[in-house]
């Protein structure tokens, strides 16, 4: 299943983006469809409001909201004061870096992670059958693998930050960073 991953800076600017489409065997074309490719940044940025809200919650808790309609940002778009909605259930409550699933959009799941410096790591998980027809089955997210993936990225990000020539908020253009992220994606997200 394909993923779209981005690191969002303090001003809502992407400092790194990548698309992962893992090929298994001789299956072809497992990536996002073309129109979805173009939509991905919008979908991702639409979830930033929810992440902003969760960022300062004492317990970014998994609420009991079970939103069955997968119509994404529906009409009753209200964020409860006790916790975000649509969160995945088995997120460890005491961990407020990894937020788990924060949003969804037509069957695509969106997970997020916030670093100590307020950088937002966000990822859209697509379905493997994201061809022409919009599949209605929502993506199941393996929280443990996802959390490990984000933590590894976090570590890589800090290493980038240790470069005295790198300014916070600049795009990360290092090919090493890119290739490391991709190999991590293969390791943790290849399902």
């Amino acid at each position: 299943m394909p993923q779209y991953f981005a690191i969002i800076g303090h001003k809502g600017n992407p400092i790194y983006e990548a698309e992962f489409s893992i090929q298994q065997g001789n299956q072809k074309n497992l990536g996002f469809s073309q129109e979805l490719k173009e939509m991905n940044p919008f979908i991702l940025h639409a979830s930033l409001d929810i992440i902003d809200d969760l960022q300062w919650q004492a317990v970014p808790s998994n609420s009991q909201y079970t939103n069955d309609n997968s119509s994404g940002s529906g009409s009753n778009f209200s964020i409860s004061s006790t916790g975000g909605f649509l969160r995945s259930k088995n997120v460890n409550n005491t961990d407020n870096c990894y937020l788990g699933k924060v949003d969804h959009f037509y069957g695509l799941a969106i997970t997020a992670y916030i670093s100590y410096g307020g950088m937002k790591f966000v990822m859209i998980h697509g379905t493997s059958t994201s061809g022409g027809s919009n599949s209605t089955n929502t993506v199941v997210i393996d929280d443990n693998a996802c959390r490990s993936f984000y933590q590894e990225i976090h570590e890589l990000y800090i290493k980038t930050l240790m470069n005295p020539f790198y300014k916070t908020g600049d795009p990360i253009s290092s090919p090493v960073f890119d290739s490391r992220v991709r190999s991590l994606a293969r390791k943790y997200l290849n399902k």
């Binding site: 779209y4 981005a6 400092i15 790194y16 983006e17 990548a18 698309e19 992962f20 489409s21 893992i22 090929q23 990536g31 991905n40 940044p41 960022q55 300062w56 919650q57 004492a58 460890n92 005491t94 961990d95 407020n96 870096c97 990894y98 916030i114 670093s115 100590y116 410096g117 307020g118 490990s148 933590q151 590894e152 976090h154 570590e155 890589l156 990000y157 800090i158 290493k159 980038t160 930050l161 240790m162 470069n163 005295p164 020539f165 300014k167 916070t168 795009p171 990360i172 253009s173 290092s174 090919p175 090493v176 960073f177 890119d178 290739s179 490391r180 991709r182 190999s183 994606a185 293969r186």
Partner: protein, 323 residues
């Protein structure tokens, strides 16, 4: 004519034709079909461990550097305000890096650090530094202790964060000295690929600090320990204004050789910048200013006054009831 932009990280010849990094004008790159066949690229920066290494900088070296910084700024500044802002900026870039680094290090569960010893330094010198036994001493255990540690601070570990990445740890100390050099450089490439990340040692990430008092405790304890090897001497909340907090250092190590009690220039703005960068990056916008307040035997006793923005207080009131 096309102009070639030089990126320090990409100008390395070994990356040519292999991969290009993220280019924000192009958007995300899709995965390439043959990608999984390639091994990930390596570089020194990304192969180093983020774990704590005990590297203390001698105070004289640090003061020498600091002195150069100050005279450099002094030459270029227009006014007193300009001088302070520039010095503050220097500190800020360190502070914001530390807010990520120190929190991440605190997440590493103690007692597991010995596994990082697979790292090889790429310098040919095989130093016999002992393995990274648990050096994560800066965690909250030392947070509440308030020792009156006095004038015997001879060393300042004032960490310009880049120093950490440049330091190296090697465990292969038993090599024979002959042609060690060649062996080392050959094996280096292979070793780099199997670098173990610290994430495997983290069972639970440290919580992000959401309250003012929590993050100030972290500054008072962990940040101060990292910079100066001791916790700060006091952390006080102002009784008059509720957005003001004070961190007190009886004897600032960095500026202890700068004389002039009637001097209007304060070089403590550097540390102020570190504090400000740390707090601002973590989402607590504030202003920090130093104030010289001699008391008892401490002639250089400095109070770092932290004034948080209103938005921080408002957020705290909304989220946590009372500020």
């Amino acid at each position: 004519m096309e102009q070639q932009i030089i990126y320090p990280s990409t100008s390395d010849a070994s990356f040519k034709n292999r991969s290009t990094g993220y280019e924000y004008t192009m958007g995300p790159k899709p995965s390439l079909p043959d990608e999984y066949m390639r091994s990930p690229l390596t570089s020194k920066l990304y192969s180093e461990s983020l774990n704590t290494k005990k590297h203390e900088i001698s105070l004289s070296a640090m003061t020498f550097l600091f002195q150069e910084m100050i005279s450099q700024i002094h030459k270029n500044c227009q006014s007193l305000n300009d001088f302070e802002t520039k010095l503050d900026k220097y500190g800020e870039s360190i502070g914001m890096r530390l807010s990520e680094l120190l929190n991440f290090r605190s997440s590493i569960s103690p007692g597991t650090s010995s596994r990082t010893s697979t790292f090889l330094s790429s310098s040919p010198v095989v130093n016999t530094t002992s393995t990274n036994t648990n050096t994560n001493t800066n965690t909250s255990s030392s947070m509440n202790s308030q020792p009156g540690n006095g004038p015997n601070r001879s060393r300042a570990n004032t960490g310009t964060s880049s120093k950490d990445t440049a330091s190296s740890v090697s465990t292969k100390s038993n090599r024979t000295s002959t042609d060690r050099h060649i062996h080392h450089t050959q094996s280096q490439q292979a070793q780099h690929t199997q670098v173990e990340s610290l994430t495997s040692q983290i069972s639970k990430m440290r919580r992000r600090d959401l309250k003012i008092i929590d993050i100030l405790q972290f500054v008072h304890g962990t940040l101060w320990s990292y910079l100066f090897n001791h916790v700060s001497d006091d952390l006080v909340k102002s009784s008059e204004r509720n957005n003001e907090y004070m961190i007190i250092d009886n004897q600032p190590p960095l500026t202890q050789f700068i004389s002039g009690s009637n001097n209007r220039i304060s070089c403590d703005y550097f540390i102020c910048g570190v504090i400000r960068g740390f707090l601002t990056n973590a989402g607590f916008r504030c202003k920090v200013s130093p104030h010289l307040m001699p008391k008892d035997n401490w002639d250089n006793r400095t109070v770092y006054l932290i004034q948080f923005d209103n938005q921080v207080l408002e957020r705290e009131t909304i989220r946590f009831g009372q500020s």
